[in-house]
Amino acid sequence: MENVSLFSKTIENIKNEIKKDIVGQDDVVENVIIAIIAGGNVLLEGVPGVGKTRLVRSLGKVLSLPFSRIQFTPDLMPSDVTGTNIIQKDENGRMQTVFQEGPIFANLILADEINRATPKTQSAMLEVMQEHKVTIANKTYPMAEPFFVLATENPIEQDGTYPLPEAQMDRFIFKLIMDFPTVEELANIVKMTQLTMDETACAVVDGPTILAMRETCKDVPVVDDVLNYAMNLVAATHPEIEGANDVAKKYIKYGASPRAGQALITAAKIRALMHGNYNVSYEDINALAFPVLRHRVKINYNAVNDHLNVEDVIKLLIKEVKR
């Protein structure tokens, strides 16, 4: 009972603090919070200047967690991210190998413009994003929990970029799109940044609280019908399976992995609780289908030809799948 009350209160506090630094983008903020509580990583996509980095920096302050920013460039090496062993003299003057932690060793990681790094460097992120640990020279180093990677990418300026491999994309629980703000929001942003460019949000939650909130959400009940609906929705993204629907057959190249199902239910539980509900509903599933599936579903040329993007295809799938 106390945990549930604390959950709602904490969420409300986080939202209020982030609103001090981020104008608009309510859905993105909410989904980022969901992802943090779920222990998932988020891929943020947006044109430059919409507040991707500011959002993460603000989150770092609010969550009162150690924060690292890694600017991904083509010459960035994996060891630049994970860290490396260096030879060092000890107090007695003897040479010894010491592990020098990379910027990945923090609770909150901003992987800025992740698609600019080479696949080799991107792959270095795979283990740490999924298993929250890095292995260097046969030695494994666990990350401090909660661990959260928030990567950004720019949908334009694709020259010199390396699209993320599907395996890595699947590690992100959500892919969130930060739209360009409205004129009103833009005005508010300008007003806000005239005073100071620094984030003004205060810490309202710490790591252990986040972990406790994660545990609380696991108990949110999901009825069989809703669970089946979520799984059917994920399965409906696969054109190759028997009994695939017409939308998938026509517009989808390949569908989402089982991680999508896990992400959908986990995130839905958190979303339900965030909205004051003690159970997961179809509405939660439908709302989260877009951030969960949009980077996991690959549309084919037919969809492009029909001027459909991945969001349109997901909408068609939601209509197609029976409750």
Partner: protein, 478 residues
């Protein structure tokens, strides 16, 4: 705890009952009305138990459909929960509460409390009854068929009522008055017994008076029928020949049988002959007279004595006196002469009684016949022996008055062949209504034939030719 949930469940239970009942009734009604209409419009002959069978079928189908539908639509908890979530927009709250009914975790308990709290704040009216289009179509179809059958049953094609023909009117005309007066005169001048004559004449006069006020033909016919019945009844009361015949016809003697037949026919001359035959039988051979007398007594007198006849009735008494006196002759000498004296003595008495009865019968039958003809109760009979002079004199000619005493009976109604006619159409006794010219030709032909075969003297031919030429000319002018 779950009262707020159960109130909705009760409402859904009621809804299921209503739906099951109405659909059951509709299906049963449709199934029953279709064969009913087929039978009606197909004009198919059916068993008298058809309606009973349909009633049984209706009940069976209703029970089956109702039971099946109620089982299907019975509001189980999960079904109610899903319905509430959907209709009240509760985002699977109720379904979760039911599915996790036995889960005791903190969040589930909170969820349960939250859901019940929400349900208790929702009015029962918010959950409306849901009826599909199919439901209304079914009800509508059943109603339409039911109304059709009811209409067919209630508004059966009314029987064609043929308006009763207006009762014919009756108007007493001069012709009828004259005919009745002629008939009364015939009766009054006849030799009918006074006990019969007076009531018949009175009846006829009374009929004449009554007809003046009668307006309908049916009333007229009723009056005439009553007069006829009364006349015949009086005849039967006064004439005993029939009764005598019925009693003695069974005698083993042909002599007695013959006289019985002739008495029944009131043929006086034949009765006379029969009595003569009896004399011949008894006295033809004087040596056997005694035995014959004894035998005749056994066949005749004994039969009368043993009969139920009124022995005081005049004809019976006359016959019995005759038989007794014959019996009293037994043992006498010169028997045949004595028999002859007795026969002569009684013969006239018997024949006189028969003549009176014959006169009674002739006149009454004539009256009846004339009444029937005058008032159209029957068509006049055709006399096949017309004009050939061979008709039985004992039979009454319905177009002629009885001719018992010809010297006293002249004129009167119905003596000719033409009974009624008009300018163009005339009644012919053989063909009914025929054209006037056709009858004239026929009569003229008959006359020519009579001239040719010498029945009529040749000197009258010119006279008749002129007469018929005139008739033909008149007809042609018309």
């Amino acid at each position: 705890m779950k009262e707020s949930f159960n109130k909705f469940r009760k409402k859904m239970l009621f809804e299921a009952l209503i739906k099951s009942s109405l659909i059951g009734l509709s299906v049963a009604l449709i199934v029953v009305t279709i064969p009913k209409l087929i039978v009606h419009f197909g004009k198919i002959n059916i068993s008298e138990f058809f309606d009973l069978i349909l009633l049984l079928l209706f009940n069976v189908i209703f029970i089956l459909v109702f039971g099946l539908l109620f089982l299907i639509t019975f509001p189980k908890e999960l079904k109610v929960a899903k319905r509430l979530d959907k209709d009240l927009g509760l985002n699977q709250k109720v379904q979760t509460m039911i599915e996790f009914e036995h889960d005791d975790s903190t969040i589930v308990n909170l969820q349960r409390e939250d859901t019940l709290n929400i349900l208790s704040n929702i009015s029962l009216k918010k959950l409306g009854m849901k009826f599909s289009v199919f439901f209304f179509v079914l009800i509508g179809l059943a109603c339409a068929l039911g109304i059709t059958v009811a209409a067919v049953e209630v508004y059966e094609k009314p029987p064609v009522v043929t308006p009763e023909p207006e009762e014919p009117k009756y108007d007493l005309d001069n012709w009828t008055v004259r005919a009745l007066l002629d008939l009364i005169e015939v009766v009054e001048t006849s030799n009918v017994e006074k006990d019969l004559k007076d009531p018949v004449v009175n009846n006829l006069k009374e009929l004449l008076n009554s007809l003046e006020t009668v307006e309908l033909e049916s009333e007229m016919k009723k009056l005439v029928t009553e007069i006829i019945a009364d006349s015949l009844l009086r005849l039967d009361l006064i004439n005993s020949n029939n009764e005598v015949f019925n009693e003695i016809k069974s005698s083993s003697s042909s002599l007695v049988k013959d006289i019985a037949v002739q008495i029944n026919a009131l043929n006086v001359s034949n009765v006379n002959n029969c009595i003569e035959n009896i004399y011949v039988y008894l006295c033809g051979d004087p040596t056997t007279t005694s035995g014959a007398l004894l035998e005749f007594d056994n066949d005749f007198r004994t039969v009368i004595v043993n009969s139920k006849l009124n022995k005081e009735e005049r004809l019976t008494k006359a016959l019995l006196d005759f038989a007794n006196e014959l019996k009293s002759l037994e043992g006498q000498n010169n028997l045949s002469e004595a028999v002859e004296v007795v026969i002569k003595k009684h013969k006239e008495n018997i024949l006189n009684i028969l003549r009176i009865q014959a006169e009674n019968k002739l006149v009454i039958e004539y009256v009846v016949s004339q009444l029937e003809i005058i008032f159209g109760l029957k068509e006049p009979e055709i006399n096949d022996n017309e004009g050939d002079g061979t008709e039985n004199k004992g039979q009454i000619n319905e177009t002629e008055p009885p001719k018992v005493n010809e010297g006293e009976f002249e004129g009167g109604y119905g003596t000719g062949e033409v009974l009624f006619g008009s300018d163009d159409i005339i009644f012919d006794i053989e063909k009914g209504s025929v054209e006037y010219g056709e009858v004239i030709s026929k009569y003229y032909g008959t006359l020519i034939g009579m001239f040719n075969d010498g029945t009529l003297p040749e000197e009258y031919k010119e006279l008749f030719d002129k007469y018929f030429d005139g008739l033909f000319g008149f007809y042609e002018e018309e």
